[in-house]
């Protein structure tokens, strides 16, 4: 096994493992076949599994996700790719009104075991319509499970969990992480959905992060350590199920909470998490709760502007220093 693997390659690896295990797993999406995907996250799948199981589609996001839904209802386990997460808006009816509701509204008659994979987030200068972090869109819809891995091994472990789940899963791969490297996943690596990871232990403040913001939070924690501030960093890994317990348990030690999310502050998932803490964890808190989130503007193109909009380690360090002094 290679020493390290990229997050990008881990996606293809994660999918391939599941396709080998279960012949009912199939992939559809734009340019995922011969081209291996626009982000090269499906390289090798066509060769190994052939064109019936790895299908290129027209630019028809509604047909892609709608067909995946119909297939999932009838004995197949589709993995549908929506190239950029911004384009989820083009098939939002399926994510908001159809896929998460059909089980409920039929009184449990049908299940929809599918995975919708998509490249999420900014930082690459792709501008307003190709850079959004939209995990909060999915978070607003009861009935969708949501995974957003931060490392190559987690990509594989969560992909396995997603494909095996009998519930629909929206799987956010972060564009900014594709080139990042990490340990490869061991064989048969399956993570449990809704189980956050404590990726750095600490005692002064709990920092909750997801996907791209995990590395940012860890970088901030390193710098805080130099100033004798001990930050505990939690990687949520999933938004639904939301691992509130791990957060509250951490707060019992730290009494201070900072949430770092890439989606915009307005309507971001951190708001819901904080509201739970402000209710159930009110007594644990010794200081105001801070959310460091995407600015409430569209994503600008120029790097210098985009850097002002997406959460940075600097911002985390600043907020935590104020908070610890509170």
């Amino acid at each position: 096994m290679a020493d390290v693997i990229t997050y990008r390659d881990a996606v293809a690896d994660g999918i391939a493992r599941e396709m080998r295990r279960d012949p009912s797993v199939v992939c559809i999406g734009e340019d995922i076949g011969a081209a291996g995907g626009v982000f090269k996250t499906t390289v090798g799948l066509l060769d190994e599994f052939g064109p019936e199981r790895v299908r290129d589609t027209p630019i028809s996001e509604q047909a892609i996700v709608g067909a995946a839904m119909g297939a999932a209802m009838t004995g197949v386990r589709p993995i549908a790719e929506i190239m950029f997460s911004d384009f989820l808006a083009c098939c939002w009816d399926y994510l908001a009104n159809e896929i998460p509701k059909v089980r409920y509204m039929t009184g449990g008659q049908v299940t929809v075991p599918l995975v919708i994979r998509t490249a999420n987030g900014g930082g690459l200068g792709f501008g307003a319509q190709h850079s959004q972090a939209v995990e909060n869109w999915a978070f607003a819809v009861p009935g969708l499970k949501i995974a957003a891995p931060s490392t190559p091994a987690d990509v594989v472990g969560l992909m396995a969990a997603a494909v095996r789940s009998d519930d629909p899963v929206v799987f956010f791969e972060h564009k900014g992480l594709f080139a990042s490297k990490g340990e490869p996943a061991p064989p048969d690596h399956v993570l449990e959905f809704g189980q956050a990871g404590i990726v750095r232990e600490g005692t002064d403040v709990t920092v909750v992060a997801l996907a791209s913001t995990v590395a940012t939070a860890l970088a901030a924690a390193d710098r805080l350590a130099e100033k004798d501030i001990s930050a505990e960093v939690i990687d949520l890994r999933c938004l639904i199920p939301l691992d509130v317990r791990t957060v509250l348990t951490s707060l019992e030690r730290t009494s201070r909470l900072v949430v770092v999310e890439e989606n915009p502050y307005q309507g971001g998932w951190g708001g819901t998490l904080v509201s739970i803490v402000a209710d159930e964890g009110f007594d644990l808190l010794d200081a105001p709760v801070k959310r460091i989130a995407g600015a409430c503007v569209p994503l600008p193109f120029a790097d210098a502007l985009e850097d002002r909009v997406i959460p940075t380690a600097d911002a985390i360090v600043d907020q935590i220093r104020t908070l610890v002094a509170y």
Binding site: Q62, M73, T74, V110, G143, V244
Partner: protein, 336 residues
């Protein structure tokens, strides 16, 4: 192509047709009951009745295999019944009863009977065409020779999902049929006022390289034969067909709509072509007696009467059900 599908391509004989007539009566009487129950306040929310559309559901269903898939719209009572749901299950659902098809969670717009391949009624116009396409793809992947059918209204032909589904189905040559129930109106607006072509579904088929056929949707035999042929073709790998079945609704669009926007002479013309009369004429010409016809309807009436009683007496949906069935594990927990 299976034996069954070949056999079905042939036209219906008198006894088969009589059975379909009885099914149509069953639907008609269920719709009338649903209407009356709605008016009396025992059905809440809304209903979109399919009285007038019976021949499409019944003719098509008879031309399909029991394991084929059907996807319908909010106007879907007729498809549920044609695919084997009982009037009692349907009415109980409309009446928010625990014995309803969806245990009170779906309502009139979402009748579903997955066990007989009636994979649901969808209330966002056009949304189910891609689903049917996907079910057809699944059938091919699983090599089951099943066909999927999407039924939809004329209004659905102007929404994007319609075209995306047709193109994908055509390119992949999937075993799916797109059956438009053209009743000439959206909710209250004539379809001709907002559509660039005269036959909203059939005239769009060529844009996706598909055959598009316009048929009399009030003639159960014509519907049956057309669907049987198209299904056989789809099953044998020759791809989808777009079938536009002309019909008319007997009630308003939904709820208490009196449908005043429809000219009286138009209504009259269509009422004269009630699918039940058309079927009766066919049956008479095949030598079926007035008595037999009367019996079929009486039988249907009896079933619906008993269904209304049973549904009325059934237990109310359990409020605790609000928190079940979100997830495959049966529950609705979203956090630890």
């Amino acid at each position: 192509m299976t034996e069954a599908s070949v056999r079905r391509v042939e036209s219906l004989g008198a006894s088969e047709l009589l059975a379909l007539y009885e099914q149509m009566c069953l639907i008609r009487r269920t719709e009338q009951a649903a209407h009356d129950l709605f008016m009396s306040g025992m059905v809440k929310g809304t209903t979109h009745l399919a009285a007038g559309h019976e021949a499409i559901a019944v003719g098509a269903s008879a031309a399909l295999r029991p394991d084929d898939y059907v996807f319908a719209t909010y106007r879907g009572h007729h498809h549920a019944i044609a695919r084997g749901a009982t009037p009692e299950e349907c009415l109980a659902e409309l009446m928010s009863k625990a014995t309803g098809l969806c245990r009170g969670k779906g309502g009139s717009m979402h009748l579903t009977k997955a066990s007989t391949g009636m994979l649901g009624s969808y209330a966002i116009v056009g949304s189910h065409l891609p689903m049917a396409t996907g079910a057809a793809w699944s059938a091919r992947l699983r090599k089951t020779e099943q066909v999927a059918v999407a039924f939809f209204g004329d209004g659905a032909t102007n929404i994007g999902a319609f075209h995306e589904a047709l193109n994908l189905a055509a390119v992949w040559r999937l075993p799916v049929l797109f059956v438009c129930e053209n009743n000439f109106y959206m909710e209250y607006t004539p379809i001709a006022e907002v559509t660039a072509v005269p036959n909203p579904a059939a005239d769009r088929a060529a844009a996706h390289g598909l055959p598009g056929i316009v048929i009399d949707g009030n003639d159960v035999a014509e519907v049956h034969d057309t669907v049987a042929r198209a299904a056989a073709q789809a099953r044998s790998g020759d791809g989808p067909t777009v079938i536009e079945a002309r019909t008319y609704r007997h009630f308003g669009h939904s709820r208490t709509d009196p449908a005043k926007y429809r000219p009286a002479d138009e209504v009259e013309r269509w009422m004269a072509r009630d699918p039940l009369s058309v079927a009766r004429q066919r049956l008479e010409s095949l030598g079926v007696s007035a008595d037999e016809l009367q019996q079929a309807d009486a039988h249907a009436a009896g079933v619906v009467e008993a269904a209304v009683d049973a549904a009325k007496n059934a237990p109310e949906a359990d409020p605790a059900e609000a928190f079940t069935d979100v997830w495959a594990d049966g529950g609705s927990t979203w956090r630890t």
